[in-house]
Structure formats: structure tokens, C-alpha cells
């Protein structure tokens, strides 16, 4: 399966069905993470029901220090 994740093309070694599985695949805790799927923000309550498809563009972001 191929996804564009945070600006990089990634070939995944297993198929993933939803946004929650993508977060788990990359080891990202769900809490305080936000996801854009094809430039639309995904409701965090719907991570595990929002489907991902081959070729999707995903941004995974979270908080860092800032002023």
C-alpha cells in the first residue's frame, strides 16, 4: 500500500484500513494528534472509522514547544 505521509511517499508493508491504523503503524499516540486526510481535517473521534485508500495524502501533526 502506498501513502503520502507528511510530505513523503511511503510504501507500507501491510494494507491499512483507517486513519487510526495509520497512526498505530507509525507509532503516534492518538491523544493530541491531528490528522489531515487529503487536506481535510479528520475528527479525532472518527480516526478508527475514517477509511484510507491507496495513494491518499495524510498529514500527521502534534504539538511542540512554541511561544
Amino acid at each position: 500500500m502506498k501513502l503520502r505521509v507528511n510530505g513523503e511517499d511511503r510504501i507500507l508493508d501491510k494494507p491499512l484500513n483507517n486513519v487510526g491504523q495509520v497512526l498505530d503503524y507509525f507509532g503516534v499516540p492518538w491523544v493530541r494528534a491531528a490528522v489531515e486526510l487529503n487536506e481535510e481535517v479528520v475528527d479525532p473521534g472518527l480516526f478508527d472509522t475514517t477509511p484510507v485508500r491507496d495513494g491518499d495524502k495524510i498529514e500527521i501533526v502534534s504539538f511542540v514547544g512554541g511561544g
Partner: protein, 254 residues
Amino acid sequence: MKPLIIAGRQLKSRLFVGTGKYPSPGVLSASLEASGCEFVTVALRRVNFSEPDPTLAAIDFNKYLVVPNTSGAKNAEEAVRLARLSRAASGLSWVKLEVTPDPVYLLPDPYETLIAVEMLVKDGFTVLPYIHADPTLAKRLEDAGCAAVMPLGSPIGSARGIKTEDFLRIIIEQAHVPVVVDAGLGLPSHAAQAIEMGADAVLVNTAIAVAQDPVRMARAFKLAVESAEAALDAGPIEQQDRAAASGPLTGFLE
């Protein structure tokens, strides 16, 4: 001083603290504690899968009002995108709006800021924009529905203190929303000066984070802000052009 209320939320401390540039998560956490602050800012970035940022774990989201900024945004569209992602990540609709296309002085773009404010307010956000100390812009942003305005003292991280005093005074005089002096405060005396001028709060990051001892500096800023508040409550005297002797004016043998 009257209580500080932003968008219906009362804040106990007038010292707001940013979370960037600390030497370690432990020092960040201890500095926030020592500052006595309640309002804390964070930024939003792509997750680095191989090296996750440890800052997040140092911030107690239950204890502090954690407000994401839109740093990195160069125009309104990018700022709104960052704000929407931040809201999804924090579960909170507060945003410190920063639109800074100029990489050298990080000065805020007033035009893009106003456009972003209009979009974000319509979308239900509580918006606190970082702006130049421009009274006309502050008014426009207040009219557009901002919950506060955050004019700069001097460029971000410059530690130059309050270089915009005359214009900050006009903003403070005219604003009907809280005025938070943001950026450029390098010393506790700068923070005290802002509060003594009538600013509702100050935001400090670099001056604490990059100090040799951030925890002690956080405490120093806390004391300065509290000192200025106490002074205002005590009723400061007016400035005079001439001397006014503190003791009797008769010659000492008369």
C-alpha cells in the same frame, strides 16, 4: 486591578508563558510551575516518527490553558489550516494567531491577520492575534470579534523590551478586549513596565527559556508581574516636572 477575563474565562495570572526553546522537558515543566502561569502556548508541527518531540509530555493539559499558535503560517490560508488542525488536536477552539511572512524580524502581516481572523471567528474560534502595536488594526480586529489582542513590544525573541510604548498606550486606552503584550520582553522589568502601563497580561517565552536558569527566571517574571499589579492597586503618584521635597523645606537651623 479588575480580574482578567478572556472569552468568559477568568485567568489568575497575568503572566502567559511560551513553551519553546527550553533545554529539557523537565526544565520546561519546572519553569511553568515557577512562573505561576495558567495560560501556556504551544506550536503545531508534523510528527517526526523517528524522534517524537518530548515537550508535549512536560505540559499538563489539565492544569494549564494550553493555547496553540499558528507559528510558521505565512498567510491567512496557512494560519486557518493550522488553527483547524490545532483545534482537532487540543479539543479547544482557542488559537493564538500568528501570520509572519518575514523570516528576519518575524513581524506580523496585518492584512493576512485580519483575513484569518474573519475566517476563524466565523468558524467559532476564540482568536488572540499577534499584531504590531497598531491601534487602528487593534480596533479592526476587536470589531472582527477577537477575544484579545497581542501587540508586540519588540521583535520576537529580541529581548529589546518595550519599543512601542506610545502606541501600546493608545491600544490600551482604546481597547475593549484584553491587551496582552507579546514578544520582545527580555527582562522582568519589561514585563512590569507593560503591566504598569495598563496591559492586561504579558507573554514571555525566550527570556525565560534561554536564561541560564530558566526556573529562577520564571519566578523573577512572576514576581515582576505581581509587583506591577500591586503597584497599580496601590495607586501610583503622578509624574512632576519639578522636585517635590519629601521632608520639610525650611533650612536645617531655622
